[in-house]
């Protein structure tokens, strides 16, 4: 066509990834602030602790990205982490299960909890946020019930110890796990039919259905993903702490969602990617790290998280979200 001109590829790339790019700039700024306010900040030891910290929220966010792409929040992840953590410890310590069997059963538990979420959303047609809130209460309650509200030490099991403190090539083992999860999910979203379908369902579920996509199947798999990764993250968590805590992640229920939204995923669904989610997690972790290094209290950290969330969601809605509205 005569009136077609060569569009600027770079410009298009910048436009499509604007939230990730602005996040990178914000992060560079944050790192500069960190360096100025604390001389400890740039030490390798500190970065190792950032890596350890980001691996928990990061692994969960990777799964959350999949379910949130369909539209709606999933707030059950941290409760699932707490409950499956307790079960993991009980299996290892009380029941003396083999480590790998315990890992497998924790995964099964995650799948079951994911199925509950999927059932409530798909069959009972409950809003995702409310549906997952239900699961959140159930899992949180059960976490307390199974040990009568007692934390459970996992002691000296070598595999658990390695997960918590081990390094490969000088980088924490947990971080490697998270990195592999991200690569897999990045690949899944980009190169598989399931990945394409997630975007379609989130962007316009009517058109997705009329494109021959099985909405229930896509949603079910996405919720399973989200819950499964939450339950698997518990193994990293228990490894790092050395115990399963009944109140693990209590009050942090929206941390992963905040990171994901910060990474440019639209709350309405259909827009965003896993790279953004990782950047969001890294940003929040570094922010917390700087606060801790400077002796800012937990309470102020919570306040700042709220501010960051509002800014992120505000930007998302000013941009018009990703979902198509009619």
């Amino acid at each position: 066509m005569e009136n077609m001109q060569q569009p600027n590829k770079w410009k298009a790339f910048l436009q499509n990834n604007s939230s990730q790019i602005s996040l990178i700039f914000a992060m560079l700024l944050l790192i500069a602030v960190g360096g100025v306010t604390s001389e400890f900040f740039f030490q390798w030891k500190n970065w190792k602790s950032i890596m350890t910290g980001v691996s928990i929220v990061g692994t969960m966010s990777a799964g959350l990205t999949v379910s949130m792409l369909l539209g709606g929040l999933d707030v059950s992840q941290y409760a699932i982490l707490a409950f499956s953590g307790m079960m993991f410890a009980i299996m290892l310590v009380w029941w003396k299960f083999n480590f790998w069997l315990a890992v497998l059963l924790v995964a099964v538990l995650g799948v079951i909890l994911g199925l509950i979420n999927a059932f409530t959303v798909c069959v009972m047609h409950v809003e995702p946020m409310v549906a997952t809130m239900g699961t959140q209460f159930i899992a949180r309650g059960l976490a307390f019930i199974v040990t009568d509200a007692a934390n459970q030490r996992v002691g000296e099991i070598p595999e658990v110890l390695f997960i918590g403190t081990g390094n490969i090539l000088g980088i924490p083992f947990c971080f490697w796990v998270m990195a592999i999860v991200y690569v897999l999910i990045y690949f899944m979203l980009k190169y598989t039919k399931f990945g394409r379908d997630c975007y379609a369902v989130g962007a316009n579920s009517r058109a997705a259905y009329l494109s021959g996509i099985n909405l229930t199947s896509v949603r079910t798999r996405a919720y399973i993903f989200s819950a499964l990764l939450a339950s698997m993250t518990t193994i990293l968590y228990v490894g790092q702490i050395g115990s399963a805590l009944v109140a693990a992640g209590n009050g942090l229920d929206l941390d992963a969602s905040t990171a994901v939204i910060l990474g440019g995923l639209s709350v309405a669904g259909g827009k965003g990617n896993v790279v953004g989610s990782f950047l969001g997690c890294l940003f929040l972790t570094i922010l917390n790290n700087i606060f801790s290094l400077n002796g800012v209290t937990q309470y102020w950290q919570t306040v700042s998280k709220g501010i960051v969330l509002i800014i992120a969601v505000g930007i998302d809605s000013i941009r018009g979200g990703g979902g198509e509205q009619y």
Partner: protein
Amino acid sequence: MSALLEMKQITVRFPGVLANDNVDLDLEAGEVLALVGENGAGKSTLIKVLAGENVPETGTVTVDGTVMDTFTPSVSESLGVAVIHQELNSILQLSIAENIFVGNLPLKHGFVDYKKLYADSLAIQRRVGLGHLHPSLKALNMTVAERQLLELAKVVSKEAKIIIMDEPTATLNTSETEALFKIIKDLKAEGKGIIYISHKLDEIFAVCDKVMIMRDGKKISQEEVKSITRDEIVTQMVGRHIEDMYPVHERPIGDVVLEVKNLRTKLLKDVSFKVRKGEILALYGLIGSGSDEALRAIFGADKFESAEFYMDGEPIKINKTYDAMAHGIAYIPSERKSEGLFLQKGVDYNVTISSLGAFSKHGVLDLKKETSLVTEWIDRFRIMTPETDTKADSLSGGNQQKVVLAKWLSTDARVLLLHEPTRGIDVGAKVEIYNLMEKFCEDGYAVIMVSSDMPEVLAIADRVNTFYEGRITGEFTGSEINMDNLLRYAIGGEV
């Protein structure tokens, strides 16, 4: 007499596209100006400048002596410009009456005066042929054609000097189009200026005074309708001569592929029909006749009460769209924006979303192969897009329609269900689509189509079933397929 509207040297640029290149447009009071051109020629872009939705890079717009200095929809409206957009934009959650009078509801003691609202609404509804619907009906529950008439009602209710209609008849059938023409003639007699965009060229000779032809963002020519022929318009539009508008011929017709028995919905009463190998079957009916519902039911698009389906004589179950797809059935919806497309996704994503299997190996998509498949479709349909991954949202209406067609034609369907397949498509691309349908049938596949475009139905259907009030009233083949029969049986039959 000075012109009612003067647009001078309008230039509009989008990323990668020069959509309007130094375009002039003049309109007198009491005149109907047709604006024609291929998909992506820049027609909608130009009228969106007048509507205050596009800001031109250069150029001036003068309405009735007043220069438009800022380009916003409210400025445009205050100058007396009203628009019926190519894409329907009624607010689905609101009623007919509320849609017509939104922002201007009659009040009584501070509350909405529903009695007056409904009475006023009904008066306007009758004018545009929506008198049979209650003003409190939500737009959500209206068919696409009814929503098109609602757009017209909204414009008629405003006291505008200039009325723009961007493809108002794309989903209307013959009698509804007649009603629209009558309204246009009334408006013209009242001294309004009308800009009329359409790909149905016959309409131009029916209601327009002048015709302005655009190509590649430029104004090519402007003529009196009296002094130009249809062929001349087409040749100027597409830059070449089109021999045969409907290149569909007799072909051998085989056994029954798909049979629908006793289809029952709220509206349809035990409807049965079948389509054979190599056949193009048209279901023809007016708004509310159920022809479109029948088509959608076969694909599982909407819920139905009961039905039996047979594929090659074997009973099959269809409850959901993916059941139908698994049996080789494809459905192309008429409402491309809400049902056919993912507007925020690229052309490539949209084209391949239903045929990912064609380029995946062990469940892994081969993105290089995807790009080359998409490029093939872009070339074949001449889809005007700067890049293969340009957002569907930024394509012109007709090009969006081509994307939806490509999406389904690239699946390995054996039965195509087409709902307004050529809605908003230019003459050149229409021929291409008919060619594809013909080829599809020659390969022994079958097509069922619902179209409001009468000439299209007459020319390409091998058999027609007419629908009226949820029943099939007639079946026609060969020379029985004529306008007389179809119209008569679409309003019940024994008239």
